[in-house]
Assembly symmetry: C2
Homo-oligomer: 636 residues x 2
């Protein structure tokens, strides 16, 4: 019976958290399954996944170089952990299910590939031969394929479902691009025009296609138009037609296709999840059911044992509340229909609004209930209190904008800090502290954390300054940022702004999924980019005396837009730089300049950037926009 209870609790827990792992039901398998889902095991797995991904920071070309032996040992350790986790999973799940699941095969292949590559690279290195660490590209597979990353996998599934339709629109878009390029070749090719850099204008078909692709992203507007426009004003019509058709209509069409699929996919996923949840709850019910008259039910005592197992943290009163809802006629048992709802009930956040008296009121009732104290508390509860502090925040904002060097302004900062601390103390004095720091009191937590971080940092900085006469730049920067962040609170005072802010705060967790998606794409492209473009461009600080420092160490870049824009630090020389370049490419502006700088052969760079643009901008950014649209429609 206790075995059944444990098994039923596992089913309910799976239903509650939308897990979908077909585990074996033997007692030791269930125990292993509990261990598998334990938060420590999950955290350790994620830790090693991110450790494995961040190895790129320490491997050549490194931001912080570590010896090859160290990085390879860490990688082997990571792979061992992944293998252990996979073995654990194999023991939990059914054998044929395990081997049919491509996720597991993917992880195994990735582990094997990584080990093989590591061994080959190590051996070649011993003989002083250099080779490529190509297996680093498979590292994001671990992030995607472990059973925990359901959200990221769902996003990838959504992308896969969108692909066919995207492809049709993309082909049509490419067709339009090729047609316009053909027209451009015919219209401008024989005019002997020159670009602003004195290069021939629109002479070569493939270059025209690329230039017009860049124009679709708007990055070379209006430069690409100017030579033709200078020749005859009427030619502007060609570019206007091009931008309307390709930038406005086709790019909107991409968004429409992605958004349409996103909505459809979301609906399907929600339907599937609801079905899986229902099935798991039925299985749990069948394990615990007893006969009662004509129907099967779960008795109250069993039900309570189950809830204690599934949710050990909830209070007795919370559990009684759940029981009241499930057995609302107080018959002493729960029928099938009510039982199935348990998974959803457990997910509802219950706020215990006990009217607790203030602890100070219990410890020193005479002082706390005196006339002065009561006046103070009514004052804090008054709307004027909020308004006063809004005015103080505004004055603070003005002081921040003013020059820091004037002494009385830096003293004023202490005054503001003191005022904010007094505010928090007064509020804690007035409101019950446990309610004030409740789970969903976002702004209270926000205020308190910001103020105390600012206090700590300011004190630390002052101490450093008085003892060593040295301002720590990092600490000062953090103090500045905290000081400005504190001003955000004023938004909370206006109802309409609060609604929008709450919408934004609520979508943060899901936005992390996009963070994961972006991380995967960035990792892959950063590793390819480093292999292709590493070392082509160097950055030297302004004081450097190295020859060609201003041309990024590359004489070919003399007088290029790249060098003139001082873009030298936009390179693929290490993992961190690559990420920042990819971020700039996501923003799209100037990407053709960033890309063309110092690449001796341009064609691979062009293909690289077009591929990145399609994956990141056309697909992922559009999914992100769809997600914001949908979240806004649901929340607002």
């Amino acid at each position: 019976a206790s075995q059944d209870l444990l098994l039923a609790a596992a089913f309910v827990s799976d239903a509650q958290y939308n897990r979908n792992i077909p585990f074996r039901t033997s007692p030791e398998a269930v125990r292993l399954y509990y261990l598998y889902n334990h938060w420590i095991m999950r955290t350790v797995t994620y830790f090693f996944i991110f450790l494995n991904l961040s190895l790129a920071v320490f491997e050549e070309p490194a931001v912080y170089p570590l010896p090859f032996l160290v990085t390879s040992l860490i990688e082997v350790l990571c792979l061992l952990v992944f293998f252990g986790r996979l073995t654990h999973f194999a023991k939990v799940t059914l054998r044929n299910v395990f081997w049919k699941d491509t996720k597991n095969i993917c992880i195994m292949v990735a582990i094997l590939l990584s080990l093989t590559d590591l061994a080959i690279y190590g051996v070649l290195r011993m003989y002083n031969m250099r080779s490529i660490r190509w297996s680093r590209i498979v590292r994001p597979i671990f992030l995607i394929n472990f059973a925990e990353s359901r959200q990221i996998r769902r996003a990838f599934r959504s992308i896969r479902n969108t692909l066919p339709e995207i492809t049709y629109v993309f082909l049509l878009f490419m067709f339009s691009l090729l047609m316009f390029s053909l027209m451009a070749l015919k219209l401008f090719g024989e005019r002997n025009l020159q670009t602003a850099e004195g290069l021939p204008y629109f002479k070569n078909y493939l270059e025209i296609v690329f230039d017009l692709y860049v124009l679709v992203t708007t990055a070379n507007s209006p430069d690409v138009m100017m030579p033709a426009f200078d020749f005859s004003s009427w030619y502007a019509l060609f570019f206007i037609a091009f931008v309307i058709v390709n930038t406005y209509i086709f790019m909107s069409l991409f968004l429409a296709v992605v958004y349409n699929n996103y909505k459809k996919h979301l609906k399907n996923e929600i339907r599937k999840l609801a079905y899986m949840k229902h099935r798991k709850m039925i299985e749990a019910f069948n394990l615990l059911k007893e006969e009662e008259g004509a129907q099967f039910v779960v008795r109250e005592a069993r039900w309570k044992q189950l809830v204690k197992l599934v949710a050990p943290d909830i209070s007795n009163s919370h559990r009684e509340l759940l029981l009241c809802i499930s057995d609302n006629e107080q018959k002493g048992f729960i029928d099938k229909k009510s039982f199935v709802q348990l998974a959803d009930l457990l997910n509802i956040q219950v706020i215990t609004l006990k009217i607790r008296s203030h602890p100070l009121g219990q410890w020193m009732p005479r002082v706390y209930k005196s006339a002065v104290s009561r006046f103070l508390r009514s004052m804090v509860r008054h709307r004027g209190f909020v308004w006063t502090y809004d005015v103080i925040i505004l004055i603070n904002a003005i002081f921040i904008a003013l020059d820091e060097e004037t002494p009385y302004i830096s003293y004023a900062e202490w005054v503001f800090l003191a005022l904010y601390i007094i505010e928090i103390l007064l509020k804690v004095y007035t409101y019950e502290p446990r309610a004030f720091f409740g789970k969903n009191q976002f702004w209270n937590w926000f205020d308190t954390l910001i103020i105390f971080a600012a206090l700590t940092a300011t004190v630390l900085n002052t101490t450093l300054k008085s003892t060593t006469k040295y301002n720590s730049q990092q600490i000062l920067d953090i103090v500045f940022i905290l000081r400005v962040l504190r001003l955000i609170r004023i938004v909370d005072s206006i109802q309409r702004f609060r609604v929008i802010m709450n919408t934004l705060i609520n979508i943060v967790p899901t936005m992390l999924t996009f963070g994961g998606l972006t991380l995967v794409v960035y990792c892959v492209f950063a590793i390819i980019g480093m292999e292709l473009f590493h070392g082509k461009i160097q950055f030297f600080p302004a004081s450097s005396n190295v020859p060609h420092a201003l041309e990024c160490g590359n004489p070919a870049l003399k007088d290029s837009l790249f060098a003139r824009g001082k873009y030298c630090k936009n390179n693929f020389n290490n993992f961190a730089s690559s990420f920042i370049v990819l971020m700039e490419l996501t923003v799209v502006n100037q990407w053709h300049d960033i890309l063309c700088g110092g690449r001796s052969r341009l064609e691979p760079a062009k293909l690289y950037f077009i591929a990145f643009h399609i994956v990141m901008v056309i697909i992922i950014v559009n999914i992100f926009v769809s997600f914001i649209l949908e979240a806004f429609f649901v929340e607002y």
Copy 2:
């Protein structure tokens, strides 16, 4: 009775075309109303509206200068026509309705303002005093406010409804921008950094706000980041956070707000239109009804007279079909419920698919039905025929891309032209010509028009060349464009592409509304821009010997990005140039460079651009995207 019929026909016609003018019902008012709605009157009105708008091309600063007397006479003529149209409308509609309608008041005020301004300007001009033609800014009012421009007014109404919500999001966005600017001032202001042009970096708060506003539009990415990034790589995080929050989240939020309102507004408008339509049809019914048993009905003979009045062009068989639907039990009369549907029935396009025999089959049956002829026709109907021509089109595309100068390639062009003509002749030989050139045979029309235009232009050009040894560049350009356009037809062969293309073709009419909207906004901004920035920058052809020709005639622009990018032709010196600059500003890229070039005082330029960006990009482009999204969801 004939009066009632005329009145009822006016109601039905209004219902059919969704017109909503409360006209008087006296016989002469109804006759005037018919005249008011006549297509000639409407075309004339639109002609004068566009003539009035295009006056800006001929007035100082002019693209094609005309004497002041001529333009002012044309303007007075336009204003007279508008006044006449308004008087006509006043005679048609009820007096109190007329004076309550802001549209009419707007037009009258605009006429008065224009006349006053014209008079003042003329008088001052006689005394050689220059003043500003400020009333030119009210000209778009005529386009918006005449009763015919319902679509554009609806779009403006939609914008007005969106404004409150947009404003809240915009204020929050501005707050975020100001916060980030404050942080930037604190983080980078005291580092003594320099931009790529050697100017101080992030020193002045208002300049930071503007620079970061530009970054939201992505136009100065990554330039604005580079100095801080060069100083310390960690500062890139500030800009990444900025772009995520402001460019990605807030700009998506703007789209969400606009799209949400667009959908809501669309639903309301459709509901309102349906209600108005129903009411008009009931009024028409009440005019024509006769008693029949227990109910009121419209007799068949009357109904036919009515349909003949409302839709004089439709064929007898079409009318019989409508009657069949309305009186489906053939009782000889139409009841209220069926009668109300007439407006919608009239809007349904009926394709008369008569199986007519080919005229050639009637004229020379023996030849047309001979074995050779039948084989030919079955060949044309075969799918292989389409495929053959797709292959021919592809080969043609390759020939177009190849060099034109080689003689046998220019002969090949004649071969392709001949092949295309043969194709059309064969098709007309096979299919019934009237069906082939049916109203909704878009692609047949497209093919035929393109081919015959290309034929005409090619013949014209060859004639010119052989007689005068002179290639007309304009004709050649048109021939090129036509030749490339012909290639589009290949899209029609693939089912999936055809679906997307049809969606795009179907939304073209509504896109004209956005054309109108854009025209209004561009006109207003172009006229303001010309007053503010006229003459600051000059364009000289490359061969010019004028001093400072390379600096756009403005020594202050030496070494500026503006002059280096050869942007001299991007100026506000005339109406056409202003339009193109505004188009470039809509595309957003490089707008800060375009705008800052040569403006002695930058502040008005910055405010001008931010205003244009908010109106055009944040509101109108987002409405356009919403419209494409919605159209796609409905059609696809």
